[in-house]
Symmetry: C2
Subunit: 475 residues, 2 copies
């Protein structure tokens, strides 16, 4: 059966023509986000925010399962707080927004709009932790942060963004290290695999790429449709740096006062950029079913009573089966335009209910991630959707894994790595590349995304033998 | 059976001795919130935030049921935006926090940290609304806002607070008015009745008390334990004021360009203050079961294998029955101290599992809102909890209604109203009180909380005959 959608001219710049322009088109046409009145700021529109709410729900469940509790800390931070940890202030200084006036007066001490709440967590942990019973202290926050951005790009780099930042304190280095790994693998990697269906390279950052003040940074690096890397989550071991700066100490069972070991870890609205570029195609977004705020849409093709009744029944059956379903009754809009709209938004399954199909006792069922179309009976249609959603989720993950594998090339020299990074990722022995090779690649905007073991797993430390550097261009 | 808790001295200042101090003690001892490093700011601690998450979930569900969609707008707003609506800027000017420097430079135009996103919603609505098909536009945002506060009090008045603000645009005044009422009654009042079990007076604000820029403000006014009023939610009809200031217009079906009618409505972290003062007693918080993040706690009295196993089984049974349950195995802490702690936190039901009771085949079941204790069999205990939670919820609402009725006195003169407001609310005919009487009461810090019909229902307009003014002292 020929699809009505095939005849229309593209509403998006094709990816192959201009990938960045395609990205901007999707953000705009799928109504995900808009520019705010202040340069670099972002308005997240209803559909974009619905995606973020689903990200939040899935990540939050996993964070709570890992034992951390949510808190909310103040937006405004005394400037002096940031100066307590030397690397930290140096890392953030050029990005800060500063409040100098409030309540109609000039303030005696300027206040910084939080670029992260790291320092306030430090201060509070020092206050809250007394004995070993208070450890580990496992906290998380969902909030907005501000980092002045000179080259903004919606979702990817914005002056204000939304994120979660976890902060924990432990009695031992091993405890802190184990917890950072747990978050990294059981919260972040699991989310990328099981929800976003976007497999990632996990590994350690090199000293050059590490977070300011961290002794170890764990990264998740996803591959976008153009072969570039997107860092989608990081987890840091802060050693005792923040504990020293803020006096985070505990009294152990033997009555000795000692410094704690802290971690921090975060994931932001940037993952929506990853969703767009990781799965999108020339028709728009492709949203994995587990993430999708709307998993199936039932379209009323023509506004007659029998058609509307059949569509409503289908919508009810889907909702009853636990499918997040929507009914599209906008028959005053052209059918083709509505199809395009749901394709742009990447809704996994479309059920089109029209009088002609109904005459044959069938409806049309289309999946977003392929050109497959089916004409099940009206009676059977709803029951087909849940297994189809599961199949689509599996297919997306499998295709993501294949792409990541196919476009990650093992090389043995720095020039080969630079060459391979023009179209994808390269893996090169870290001892072959070294910090000199890293600096050399950086001149062509190719960076070491992470260091991993030869089998792709997460190393314990960056001085292990046989580590492999994953290098790529990146967002 | 004598309770171990009865013997201990109070951990809180009794309400009758000093109500404000009792409030501060509860916030502190129940670990709800802490002061932030900047005066007037608040750190919401894990238990306080868990309560807020439950508020959010319940209110958000109702907002979505009313058809509104969530968005996220930028924190920083150009100063010029606020100046577009005269009443608006005048209302907020003394409360603003202003960013003058960012990215290492002085800004050419100062940026205001949003005191509300009203103006940005205005700007966006003007951009997004074209034809009548785009109406009504129903949006909501969960976010932080900043209003410089000179006399801060945790949860009640803080320089930064969390809230939701809804903003909608409609084709007609009647449409806007009906939607504001719908939100007010079906989202807010329903939430206060069915979730918070805290009945409210609903009504219209007088011109004196109305939101800056609104033509009509609908309020929910709850009664606190000391007889003072707390405004816990408001809904505004903005008429065409914001539509005029921001050019929010639509083309109607006949092709005419006309101004929209807008509404806004909000509820904030202040409701946590309402929860504390509306239900709390000398032992701490009393959390209604529907709201409670933890509905039942199972305490292991003594750390022996059989006791722990029985407690774990009970905890599992409760979770399986859909009860939000926790297991308290902290037998290294004194039992009495743990009981005090759960009482402070207002957890509705406590199940104490100890070897002596187990020897008799029973456990001890205590409800937070009364001194009632029961000793059901181990087998029956879990199944008793869901109906008990329902009964407690009903009891709390019933008691709240009784208090509101008993402490709201009908009076016929301004001096009587002033007298009655010393210990509760007074209702006085609005035509008797008038704006002069209102001004007179205000000198003694007694204000008109709202105007309602004689039967307590929400009027259509403030010029209806027979309106009654509810007056009280307030937070």
């Amino acid at each position: 059966m020929a699809s009505v959608t095939e005849k229309r001219s593209p509403v998006l710049t094709p990816q192959a023509v201009d990938f960045p322009r395609w990205y901007q088109d999707v953000v705009d046409k799928a109504e995900l986000a808009d520019n705010g009145p202040v340069r670099g700021t972002m308005v997240v529109r209803p559909y974009g925010y619905a995606l973020w709410e689903r990200v939040q729900a899935e990540v939050d469940t996993r964070i709570k399962r890992a034992g951390a509790e949510n808190v909310y800390l103040p937006l405004l931070i005394p400037e002096s707080y940031l100066q307590r940890e030397a690397d930290h202030v140096e890392g953030f200084s050029p990005e800060l927004a500063v409040v100098t006036h409030a309540g109609g007066k000039e303030l005696t001490e300027p206040l910084v709009v939080r670029p992260t709440s790291e320092t306030v967590f430090g201060e509070l942990m020092a206050r809250w932790i007394q004995g070993h019973r208070d450890l580990p202290l496992l906290l998380n926050q969902w909030a907005n942060v501000v980092r002045w951005e000179l080259r903004p790009r919606l979702f990817l780099r914005t002056t204000e963004f939304l994120w979660q930042e976890g902060h924990t304190a432990h009695a031992t280095r091993a405890g802190a290290s184990a917890y950072a790994r747990r978050i990294h693998l059981q919260v972040y990697r699991e989310f990328f695999d099981d929800v976003l269906a976007l497999p990632v390279h996990v590994g350690l950052k090199t000293a050059r790429e590490r977070f300011a003040g961290a002794v170890n940074t764990l990264a998740c690096e996803a591959m976008m449709g153009d072969g570039k890397a997107l860092q989608v989550a990081t987890s840091h071991e802060m050693g005792q740096n923040f504990a020293t700066a803020f006096g985070i100490t505990h009294t152990d069972a033997a009555g000795r006062r000692s410094l704690c070991w802290t971690t921090s870890w975060g994931l932001s609205t940037r993952v929506i950029g990853g969703l767009i570029m990781g799965h999108g195609d020339d028709k728009g977004l492709v949203v994995p079913p587990v993430l999708a705020p709307t998993q199936a849409v039932v379209l009323v093709v023509k506004d007659d009573d029998a058609t509307v009744a059949a569509a409503e029944r289908l919508h009810e059956q889907l909702s009853a089966a636990g499918v997040r379903a929507k009914l599209d009754r906008r028959t005053d809009l052209g059918f083709g335009r509505r199809v395009t709209d749901w394709e742009l938004k990447g809704v996994p399954v479309r059920l089109e209910v029209g009088p002609r199909d109904l005459g044959d006792g069938v409806v049309t069922l289309a999946r977003r991630d392929s050109v497959e179309r089916d004409r099940p009976t009206v009676e059977a249609a709803a029951s087909l959707v849940p297994p189809l959603l599961q199949r689509m989720q599996d297919d997306l993950l499998r295709r993501g894994r294949e792409r990541l594998r196919a476009r990650t090339v093992d090389v043995t020299s720095t020039p080969e790595a630079a060459e391979a990074a023009r179209s994808g990722f390269a893996r090169i022995p870290w001892r072959t590349l070294g910090v000199d090779g890293e600096a050399q690649l950086a001149q062509n905007a190719v960076t070491v995304r992470c260091l991993q073991r030869p089998d792709g797993s997460l190393p314990e430390a960056d001085d292990e033998d046989d580590l492999v550097a994953v290098v790529a261009r990146s967002y």
